[in-house]
Structures are given as C-alpha cells and as structure tokens.
Assembly symmetry: D2
Homo-oligomer: 242 residues x 4
C-alpha cells in the first residue's frame, strides 16, 4: 500500500517575488512533488494555504500518512482549529516533516511544545554533517555535503531530539541542529532546515534523498490505537493468579 | 541562594471527602511543604486554585524556580492565560514537577505537546523500580520500593523521556513509566505518578526523597537567555577570517 | 538485495536435555530459521559453537548483515579473537541481535561496554509491554502480550538504551527492560529477553514478528565508511574562503 | 564529604617539548589541579603514567570518585589490567572524564564499547557551542565561546550520547560533537575535546568552568550496588498475593 503524502505550502513568495518564481514556478510544493515522482511507493498530493479549507479538509488530512509543511510569511493565518486537527492526526500516527522556516509554524510549536526560536542571518556557505549514519534518514548520505543557505543557528529552542541526524556548519561561525527527529503519541516528526525560498537547496541530490528517506521513516508503523478517546478505564485485572 | 519552590494544589478533594481530609487536613500541598521543612536550601510557598488569580499572580510565578502541580477534578477550570504564562516560564528555565493526575493537566499537555492519556484502574499493590541509579533524582533510592496506589498504566502517551528514572509494576499485570524527565527550552520537567488523594504515598520516605531530589534537579542552572523575544537576528558574522 | 542473516547458537542444551530437545530438535537456531522462511527479503544461514572456527569464519562473518546470537552455558568457550572480529563487524555496520541469555555473552559485553548483569529467578507468567509503538520493531505488536518465561529483572546493567521498545512485567513483582536498542559505530543492536531454552517463547507469534522486525531494522543502512583504518588525517581544509 | 578527584596524565610531552613545557611546566595535570584550588568541595590528587603502578594502585583508584584522563602518545603503554580495573570502578559508580586525545585511550574504548575514531587536522580557530543550557555541565557557559585548537571532526565514532552538551565549529568547515555525556553501570562519563598540549585551552575560563561542573556532575550519586558480584539470583518472590 502506497504512502499517502501531502505537501502543504504557504505558496505566497512564489507569486510575488520574481527570483522565487523563477526557481519554483509552480510552487516549492510542486517542485518537491516532481522529485518524488520516481518513488513508486508514494502517492503525492499538493495543498496550499489559499486553497479551500486552507488545503486540508478532513477528507485530505484523514487520508494523509505523511505531511510535509513549508510556511514562512503567513504562519499567523493558519487557522487554530486546523492546527489542532493536524496535532491530533500526528498523535494518532501521521508523520510530520516541517521544512526550513516551518520551525516557527503553529503546528511545529503545538506538536513539540516549544517555541522553535532560533538565531538567523545572511545566506552563506554551509555544510550539512551526517551525525547518525545508522539512521534510515541518513541512508546514502555522505559524511557531509555543501549548500548555500540562510543562516539558522543555535541557540535553537527545541526539545531534546530523539536522534540528531544532521547538524550544519556555517561559514561565519555558527552551527545548527538542523536535522532532528522527535516522536509524539504515535507520530514521528523530522525537522530539516534547508529550503530557503530564494535558494536552490531543493535541487540538491542529497536534500532530495533525505526528504525521500524521511517520508519513508515517518510513515506510520502501527494501526492507530484508540487514542482520541482519551484515558482508558481498565475495569478487569490483566492478570489473575489461579 | 535558596530554591524558590511553589506547590500548587487544586485543593478540592480535601474539602469534600472525609477520607482525604483525614489524610491531608490542610491540603496535599501543605503536607508536602511539611516534609520539605528540613531542606534548608528551599523556600516554599503554597498556592491553590481558589486563591486570587488561581494562586499564581505574576509576582508569584516570576519568583518561582520550581513549580509542583497537583490537580485532578478541576483541570478544566485552570485559566488558559495562566497555562500560557506557566509554559513561558518553563521555557525560560522554571522547573516543573507535575504529580499523579497532573498528567492530564493543561500545563502538562501544553508544555510536553502530548495528550498525557493513559490507562487507569483500581488501587492496588505496586512496586516502583529504579531504572537509572546514576540520576540525581534517584540518589538514595533502593532498587525498588512498594506502594499502594491507583493503577496508572501503559500505553502512556508522552514524548520519549530524556531519562526514564522510574517505572512501576502493578499487582494485576500492568507497568507504567511513572518517573520520567523532559526538557523544554531552558526548563526541566519531572513527572512522578504517586500521590492519589486517598492514599498515603506522600507519607512514604522514598517518595519524599524523590520529590526533594527532583526539586534540586529541576532548579534552573543558567541565567535565562533572552528567550521571550523570539528569534534573534544576527547581523554581524561571528567569525571573520583575517 | 536480500538481508544476509546468520543465526548463531551455542547448541548444547538441545543435545543434552530431553525437554529442550523435544521443543527444538534441530536447535533453537533451526527453529528460528523455520519461522523466518516466509521472509523473502532474507537469506538465512545457521552457525554453531561446535562448527569449525566456531561457526563464524571470515567468509561467513564478512557476508553477514545481521547476526542473531543465542548462548548460555558456554559463554566462556567463545574465542576472544572471534569476539573482536564480531565487534569490528558491528562497528562497520553489521546488525547484532543477542537473545535471552546473550546478555552475558562476550560479544554483548565487548560491544556495549557493560557487564550485562541482572537479577534472575524462577520461570513465571510475564507480560511484555510495548512502550514505543512508533518504532519499526514494534510494528504489528499490541499494547502487551503474555509469555511464560525465566525471570530476568532490574537492576539490569546496560548503557542507557537509544530506544526502550519493550519492558516486561513478571507475576512475582519484577520488571525488566527486555527489549532495547543501541548503536555502536555504524551498527545497530537490539537485545530481546524471551527465549529460554526450555520454554516456548519462540513459538509465540509476537516474538516471531518482533524478531523479523528487528532483523529488518538492524540491517545496515549505509555502505561502510572506512572505519577500520582508525583516525583519518584531514590534510586540506574543507572550506576555503575565496 | 569532599569529592575525591584524581587527575591522571601521561606526562610525557611536557618533559620533551619546549613549547609544552613552557605552557605547563609541572604537567597539564598540575595546571588543572591549580585551577581547581578554589573548589572547596574537592580533594585533588595527581597521577602519572611513569609513577609506580602507572599512578593508580588500588589504594588510589578505590578512593577516587572522579577520574580525569589525559593521554596521547603512550596510549599503548597503559596496562590492560589497569584498564579493566578502571572500567570496573566506573561500572561501580566512579565518574570518568577523558580529555582531548583521551578519545583514543584504552579506558575510553573499553568503557564505551567504541573505537573513538575521528578525523583530525591542523590547529585552527574554533567555537564551542552550548547545545544543552539545561545541563549542569553547561551552568554559567554562554551560547558559544572561542578557542584555538587542534581540529577534531566528525565522523566521530561514539555511541549515541545521553546528552550532547557542546559541539564545536571549526574555521575550515568541520564540526565535532566534542562535549558528550554517557552512563555505564553506575558511572557517569563526560568526554570534552579541548586540551591540546601545545595550546592554551586549559587557561580559558569557560573550559575551566566546564571541567569543574563536569566533576560535580560525574560524582557518584548512590552508594555502589553489589555490582561486582555479577548476576543476582532472586530465590524468593518479591510479591506474594495474600
């Protein structure tokens, strides 16, 4: 059974900035869908902030196994009720992959219980280091590879990651825990920092490979438990000595 | 400088149920304060839901290093604005120790990004196991000790703990990750499951020792960074090659 | 490409004890191979202590992706040079799955840097709890399931697990962190406690499913880095400012 | 009761290289002892490779709470029996703090079950980042600080750290998980990378503060369990239903 992937994009920069439009004419989300086209184990849908129901009506969200999220300038416009629905889906097993500026999105904060605050600055040369070569998300990734990206730096206010898969070196003196996994309820989360709208990180073969790996890793492994019913009252002992 | 401890208690059961009143005539919080009285490194304050501003006006919260939280029947009455203020304080370094039914309190859920759902059942014999004898919270605690407590059982929907210090065996076939640490921002969190209002767990010498250890562990280690200002814009390179 | 699995068994109890012989006439390892026969992605080999070169000549070890290990009464007979070769293979990416009494085997201790000491006692009813339903090793496993097994109990002297996937409740008051993952170098390790030679745990459908899941999880994800050459001297800067 | 600290130093470079001698005329270990002199809660002893019994006779080792270790050119000369004794002491609760090139020492490898291999290169500007401001080892340490140090880089073959407290940025493109904690048995381990013999890192106020913090963190929290007797046979049930 294919992994049902939904790529959600704010999809604003691509309409207003010439540079971004030139790189991603149909939107970042469509570009990502493009490089996933060789993944026969995935069915990919697109969703955008300006779509009806902000792109994620129940029918879509409830049939999504892994949700990718790219947002930046319009975090505040995302409906709080949608944020709660996304959070509940993650707790019931949906994978969630916030990209780049998604560290400050409402779903990121609600799911992780963290501000996502960080230090940022000018675009520069950087090098992504593979710190966890045993992790499925790092399969096929070398010890390090180069990008040109917006500076995202420590201190980064996230909970302690389950696994710190990648950390990034920046030319001007900073480092950043930019590839980190978390679990919440039955759901797996992977935050990955590349993907500035005016840069070409999504064209990079390793970034593409990491996103593919992450989707496969984040797909639910178990049938949902009856999580949305809250606490369970166990009325009979599990064990009775005979 | 003393650790400034505030013990927040819902303080309702003690007023309405004879059995609880008999065990904790001035409230669970007052009883806990009592056994902390030999801790010369602590200054302890009490706070209750029915106090003005639900017991935690700015003046109190902003001068609290570690907040203990006991709530049960009135979780829903806690003001959402107060929950946000508690969460921000934790992110800025305040320690937070939710006890027993606090797993379902609003601050627990907001801070951990988790439902806190679990399975529960009848009071029974149980045995708390020390899984992490290197941890400061386990100092002086034997390999295991007995209690008679309400059943709290797996599945327990919490994020992966930083350290699983204790887990509890129950007579009728269950286990529970009932002593777990987390970090959020600059704040440390310890959830500990004993403390049912109609049972004597707070009289137990090991429970008392664990709570003392946990307060010392959860006290902030660093001066608060300027966390509440959100993301920081770094305008100059940290490193310039000469 | 299939996962190349080698099941190593001490294979002594099965020759000397009638009860064990009746349960596992061709050895525990052959029984395990039997229930793996529906895994088309695996090629399974058997190896035993009394085979030439203790069952693991270079040709076998160097062509093994995941090594299962069952030993008990003859830990001391395993050659130290073989232990070193196993350890080096794990550091270069081979998965390692010590079962049951393998907690005290030489490879377990050398790889984990730990004694593996524990408390043990009489066979009894027990219940394995699934603490990590997001983990691939827990795929398809319910919240808990029953076994009748030898008592293995805390305190268990292992390093802090990367993930504590299962913990086991025992009728007489004990618990045990009996399903735990670790990483060393490029290799993944999963210790799993069921499998007493005179009990039927390997007949249990969930134990079988967990072993299958664990083999897939422990298979190497990356090509080996040049680990066996020791430290690498980097003679040129990775980054030169232009 | 004071923490009994022993600083072990290979103490060879200081005798043969003029530059090192100038920086550390009585040895690195004596210099470290010097800056610990304001710690009234510590009793500090020195030990060196060329002392009788390589500086660590039973009387010393068995009365050490925290052992610091600096070795480089003479790792191979350390006696294997001594390595076993150090490992057993750590498993029974002694703290262990290998510094700089101690990543390749025999005790490091035996205790962690890892090669400690890394990539190294020319001395250069670097910046140590504080990734875990909630950790007692990070108390009083800013978000980052500068050193001039030998390049130590990823890939670094260590088990997954319990806490990654510091990671270091290097001018020429590398990063390194250079401040990491581990536990083994009852013992706590902290590896910290600064301290090249020909550089002044031990003069740095933050390095000094980190070493002081680490000693206090690594001191044993519990009385030793009877670990050195191996597995314990529990002959009576802990729980008997009445």
């Amino acid at each position: 059974m294919a992994i049902r992937v939904t790529i959600w994009n704010e999809f604003r920069h691509e309409k207003t900035k010439e540079k971004v439009k030139a790189l991603y004419p149909d939107g970042l989300h469509a570009y990502i869908k493009g490089f996933l086209s060789d993944c026969e184990d995935m069915e990919v849908r697109l969703a955008a902030l300006d779509d009806p129901e902000q792109g994620l009506p129940d029918e879509v969200l409830n049939n999504t196994d892994v949700l990718l999220w790219w947002g930046h300038m319009a975090h505040g416009e995302v409906d709080d009720a949608l944020v709660s629905r996304i959070r509940d889906r993650v707790l019931n097993g949906m994978g969630f992959i916030p990209l780049h500026s998604g560290h400050h999105s409402k779903p990121f904060k609600a799911i992780l219980g963290s501000t996502g605050d960080l230090t940022w600055g000018a675009d520069q040369n950087c090098r992504v280091w593979n710190l966890c070569p045993t992790h499925p998300i790092a399969a096929g990734i070398p010890s390090s590879f180069e990008l040109f990206e917006e500076l995202y730096s420590e201190p980064f206010f996230i909970p302690k990651p389950d696994d710190l898969v990648f950390a990034t070196w920046y030319e001007n003196g900073n480092i950043f825990r930019g590839g980190a996994t978390f679990t919440r309820g039955l759901g797996k989360i992977f935050y990955f920092h590349p993907g500035h709208e005016s840069r070409m990180s999504f064209y990079n073969e390793y970034v593409q490979r990491i996103i593919k790996n992450a989707i496969r890793w984040a797909a639910p492994v178990s049938m949902p438990l009856v999580l949305d019913e809250g606490c369970i009252h166990q009325t009979e002992p599990l064990f009775v000595r005979k």
